[in-house]
Amino acid sequence: MVKEIERVGIPVVHVCTVVPISLTVGANRIVPAVAIPHPLGNPTQSKEDEKALRKSIILKALKALETEVHGQTVFDK
């Protein structure tokens, strides 16, 4: 799906847990997530901490969308 979205001219960031799969599929902007059943959350944390964690991942994803890339790039910092 990432490729079809990219193909129509819309930049797309793939937020996912298993980065090697995303690389194989062909996503260009990749942001690693937390875990398979909760990529954007962590049920062991408090509601507030969890939301802050989610926000930090999304801010990273938005940063990736604002960054020019020339090939597949994993934004893991």
């Binding site: 990432v2 090697p20 969308l65």
Partner: protein, 347 residues
């Protein structure tokens, strides 16, 4: 006696389904689950001395650590041969089988074989490193997969000549081998051309590799004004799954209006995905589709606007052709709706 160690996931190991996908690796002496059929296919000279079982999510979330742990367990049994799976179209299982096969091959130097459906992401990732027998997309293909895996494994162990991918049933590895042919290349080429002109079947000697890559689009220049859409393969749907998106091998996607929605709750949204433990997403679907945070960022002016609709399907054994078709359709809608960027989440 040829010593074999077999690797399977928590499901085939009888430990449990998705709710147990986070179990750490463990080893059991002898055969477990599909190891029975494998043992029968391998014959009397072969003993499956141990079976290593690991949860699919645990392996994929901790790839390096899990690989090392599993390798240690395998090493202890001093195997002559290592077999993993088959994984069919189970993505995480396929990645685990491929990755552990590669690490066993690299560090123990023994032959390794696994089996997968060609669309399994593990196949593309590891087909150049190892032999992967091509299987059906579901466990109904076990009876065909096991004998093919056993046959190739024994051939590798005995150092016999390995035939072409079509002869042995493995997924093309991209390796070319020089062979003598009784006819010259020029004649073979003309024969193929004539067959093609007559509309007859012919087999190319050099299939073109399939590199379906799309170049990245330019970055978003003004995020504060950008309209961002959310898309997910994690199966987040309004409670009750109104479109009845299938829990695996999805044949459709959903388009859902989230105008006015600022938080996904257990009462309003859930996951239709059957390929991961749904407990956490059902309690709070923002953990997969971050509507709450996107709304907040919209309010704070970090992004211009969260697009009114999100799109969702279930990425669980769903064929590449279907996923491509879904996205091809909704991507055009996104363009028409003036969406400037997409955040796509996967489980």
């Amino acid at each position: 006696m040829i010593r074999v160690v077999h690797y399977i996931n928590q499901f085939y190991g009888g430990i449990g389904g998705e709710e147990k996908a986070d179990v750490k690796p463990e080893v059991r002496e002898g055969v477990v689950g599909p190891g029975m059929a494998l043992k029968a296919a391998l014959g009397n000279d072969v003993e499956i001395v141990a079976t290593v079982i690991c949860g699919d999510s645990y392996f994929n979330e901790n790839m390096e650590e899990a690989s090392a742990e599993v390798l240690e367990m395998i090493k202890k049994y001093n195997p002559d041969l290592f077999i993993a799976g088959p994984a069919f179209n189970a993505g995480r299982y396929g990645v685990a089988c491929g990755s552990i096969c590669k690490s066993v091959k690299d560090s123990l130097g023994i032959p390794v074989v696994t089996g997968m459906y060609p669309e399994n992401p593990g196949a593309d990732m590891f087909k150049k490193d190892i032999y992967i027998i091509e299987t059906a997309n579901a466990a109904t293909g076990m009876r065909q997969a096991i004998p093919a895996i056993a046959r190739l494994a024994l051939k590798l162990f005995r150092n016999e000549d390995i035939g072409t991918a079509a002869e042995e049933g493995y997924i093309l590895r991209g390796i070319r081998k020089n062979i003598y042919n009784s006819e010259r290349g020029s004649k073979r080429a003309v024969d193929m051309l004539l067959a093609k002109l007559k509309g007859e079947k012919f087999e190319t000697e050099y299939p073109m590799p399939d590199f379906d890559r799309v170049a990245p689009n330019p970055a978003v220049t003004d995020m504060k004004k950008a309209k961002i859409a959310l898309v997910t393969s994690g199966g987040i749907v309004p409670k009750g799954n109104p479109d009845r998106i299938e829990s695996s091998s999805a044949s459709k996607y959903g388009k859902y209006d989230i105008s006015g929605v600022s938080d996904l709750t257990a009462e309003t949204y859930e996951t239709a995905h059957g390929g991961y433990d749904p407990v956490y997403a059902n309690l709070d679907a923002d953990r997969v589709l971050p509507v709450d945070v996107m709304r907040e960022l919209e309010k704070e002016g970090v992004i211009g606007e969260l697009h009114r609709y999100y799109y969702a399907t279930v990425g669980n054994g769903t064929s590449v052709a279907n996923a491509k078709k879904f996205a091809d359709t909704f991507a055009k809608e996104l363009v028409k709706d003036g969406v400037q960027a997409v955040v796509l989440t996967s489980t």
